[in-house]
Symmetry: C2
Subunit: 147 residues, 2 copies
């Protein structure tokens, strides 16, 4: 019924959180290499770019909530992207605690490139799966991710 190698013993690969973490790490590797090498970006930076590319104008807080990233990490990612010239920050005149972010032209180009790369990678993965397998996987991951 299950895939234990030693009869009676509990294997780490039976532990779903472990197995999923390993799988996610393997799947993320290739794409991570791409944005790290091509744009010298960290994971949080690429996620911020993605959210801004998709939703145009967001505050750091918005990104924290959407992406479930701690505000410290987002703050540093935003600073790094600002220094790279990929986004601008504009203080909200209605509530000066808020800073509205949006991508520059250069940032937009990075977004388009990375989004296309992600879509291509995704399409490739999907081709290897039957529709049924994909449906189950996507549904369960969505459920666990609580997105």
């Amino acid at each position: 019924m299950n895939k234990q190698t030693n009869s009676g013993s509990y294997d780490l690969s039976d532990f779903l959180p472990y197995l999923m973490t390993q799988a996610a790490d393997q799947l993320s590797m290739e794409f991570q290499t791409y944005y790290r090498e091509k744009y010298k970006m960290l994971r949080t930076e690429w996620r911020v770019v993605f959210h801004l590319g998709t939703f145009s104008e967001l505050t750091a807080k918005d990104i924290c909530e959407r992406a479930r990233i701690h505000k410290t990490k987002v703050s540093r990612a935003v600073s790094a992207l600002d220094e790279k010239g990929y986004l601008t920050r504009k203080i909200d005149t209605n509530d000066r605690r808020h800073t509205v972010l949006h991508l520059t032209k250069a940032g937009e180009e990075v977004f388009v490139d990375l989004r296309d790369a992600a879509m291509g990678f995704d399409a490739k993965l999907r081709e290897e799966l039957s529709d049924e397998d994909f449906e189950v996987l996507h549904r369960l991951l969505l459920k666990y991710a609580k997105l």
Copy 2:
């Protein structure tokens, strides 16, 4: 056909590596809290304990390969576990570059407790899934994790 929220736009939750990372993070959270608070252990430390508990005697190198963890991290985890009194190190007399590790009595108790907690957590997750869903999920994760 797919779950996009904005027609025509590509959502991050469509990107399998991202979605799986988020799901894995959510699933790992509860268990992580358990070993962090109860035993002040880091993730790598619990994994080392698990491998030693399962396979009794291993070198640091063995653990690196089995768990796909960098030797630096394993080295530091082993040192930490040694200081906590959970394992012993014994230089291999046949090849003095190797150090054979194994759990102490205290380490064994930690292993049993954590393994049981993991099994319980796993069983709870599985109850919520149909056999078909579980089969698909487990098979695909094993495939991607390349374990």
